[in-house]
Symmetry: C2
């Protein structure tokens, strides 16, 4: 549900499907609290608890390349990106189904290793494997994972609640995954610092505990996960909440990159922080009067205020000198390479 | 969850994944009533209602061929095969997520038409589109649908409850889909009779109402859907219930096939009835004392008794002359063509 479109043609495709889905959506039923358009759908099947469901596919040659991604990392990641959608609703993960289509020649050790990585994260997050489907593929490897979670209706956080004056926060560091991906593609020598960046791309850490903390403490007015890059995901939050935002470029938390690494990557560091996708950090807004309740770290993860919400429906970036420019959603092209 | 393996290598692959899943299954938690191994998993999140979840993928070149299957039919079918898993638990469908990976050149009209067929069946069965993911594919079209349903714990029917002496029933006619597929591949002239057979392959009717009837009337001791063919699916039921079975070949409901069609297809009609997959009819056992409660038609669908359950763990077939031979699971090769 936080599909990260990989290029312009895919973006067009995603938009088409959204239009199709909108056309075909039945009137909201009593059972459905929230449909397509957020990180997960929410079902009101039972009093006092919403069921959350989300699904994400990873396709070889589009979302990953087995030349630089081992099967264990792939298994971890397909679960991580789905867990991130549950985190982005303030929810608890419960379990998941996994569908795999794999070329027969690749099936043996590949599947064993893929499961190993996936179940490592499942164990870490107390998420249960519920079932799946396995098939041969005549082409690339396809993985699709559907995750179930739940959340109390009073703790659900959607993309919709941001109000002018709210402060905007992010967890962790931004652009790390995109830099890590570029270094992986370059086949960079794996120093400790390089490995750290690469591992953020290969094994993102879904921020479930942070999402739960925000939900339980009723701090956040809107929340989503950073799958497409800050500029794009912030535009999603603003659109859903019908607001705008001002982001301070000096405040964006960027990774420490030494001069060797910096000479390897193709763009200035800030570009990765603004537009790099797949960090799976959280982006959230907090009413000004609750700002004081937000600590510097939540569940061990750094949290940083980077801007504020405005009533004007546009997103602006202030630079070092305090000059303001529009920040357009450019996160979808992070995979073009 | 009722993945229909398409050939020996895929069967091997499915078995490997089952072993992997078994290894990785955490101890059954309080939340999980039923995990991998039935048509759907069942979660006990809330008192009085089980949440059912199942997932099935359709891969171009493995499960379907767009030369003889239009996008509308494909959309219908990917939902139908998943609805059939909910029917096979006695459940009510609620909603679904759909993931699609499609080559960019094919994306426009293809997606619109695929959605049309899918939503036609969704409307018919009051099943709601909850969300999805869309991606480009560098190879074949890949569809994965995950379905949610629910059922009262007292109405859940698994594969496990068959007892020696129980009678074995099936809905509808068997082998129709496999014959339809063969005629589609041959490009047979579409007379009314031929079209009927083809449409069973292209647009199977999930037996949700029959499943619900069996659940509410507490008739069936075990239940599954016929995705892999009678010989294979019956072996699943027998293995899960730790029983055997005797099937009367004369009683197997076969479609009416005229001499022209019969000369076109490659095998005797009974072979399709025994081993042809993808009928998505229901197979169920009924305690002998409840046999009288089972009408000839349930919700307009023909129901026929075809054999009985034994305590010996083997499956036998009696022929026209009353001779008995072992019935081996041979349903997985129906797609080899």
């Amino acid at each position: 549900m936080s599909a990260s479109p990989q290029n312009q043609s895919e973006l067009k495709l995603v938009k088409q499907v959204q239009r199709l889905a909108d056309q075909h959506l039945p009137k909201k039923t009593e059972q459905i609290a929230l449909q397509i358009g957020d990180d997960a759908a929410a079902l009101t099947q039972y009093p006092g608890k919403l069921t959350l469901i989300s699904t994400d596919a990873l396709v070889e040659g589009i979302h990953f390349d087995l030349h630089y991604m081992c099967p264990e990392d792939l298994g971890w990641k397909v679960l991580a990106v789905n867990l991130s959608d549950i985190a982005a609703m303030g929810g608890n993960p419960i379990g998941f189904t996994i569908s795999i289509a794999v070329p027969p020649l690749k099936s043996g050790a590949f599947l064993t290793r893929m499961y190993k990585g996936m179940m490592e994260l499942a164990t870490n997050t107390k998420t249960v494997l519920l079932g799946g489907d396995t098939s041969a593929s005549p082409g690339p490897v396809f993985l699709n994972l559907t995750i179930l979670g739940n959340v109390k209706p009073t703790e659900l956080i959607t993309r919709k609640g941001a109000q002018p004056g709210d402060k905007i926060f992010v967890t962790g560091e931004l652009g790390v995954s995109a830099i890590g991906l570029e270094l992986l593609r370059l086949g960079a020598v794996r120093s400790k610092a390089v490995t750290h960046l690469m591992s953020q791309h290969l094994r993102p850490q879904p921020r479930i505990k942070v999402g739960r903390w925000l939900a339980k403490n009723h701090c956040a007015s809107a929340l989503l996960d950073l799958s497409d890059g800050l500029s794009t995901d912030l535009s999603h939050l603003c659109k859903a909440s019908n607001v705008g935002a001002v982001i301070d470029s000096k405040k964006i938390p960027l990774p420490t990159v030494n001069s060797t690494m910096s000479s390897l990557v193709s763009k200035p560091l800030l570009d990765y922080g603004l537009n790099g996708g797949e960090d799976y950090e959280l982006l959230f807004s907090v009413p000004a009067k609750k700002e004081i309740q937000v600590p510097n770290k939540i569940e061990g993860v750094t949290v940083k205020q980077i801007g504020y919400v405005t009533d004007k429906p546009e997103i602006c970036l202030t630079n070092e000198e305090g000059r303001v420019r529009p920040l357009l959603p450019q996160g979808f092209d992070h995979f073009r390479g």
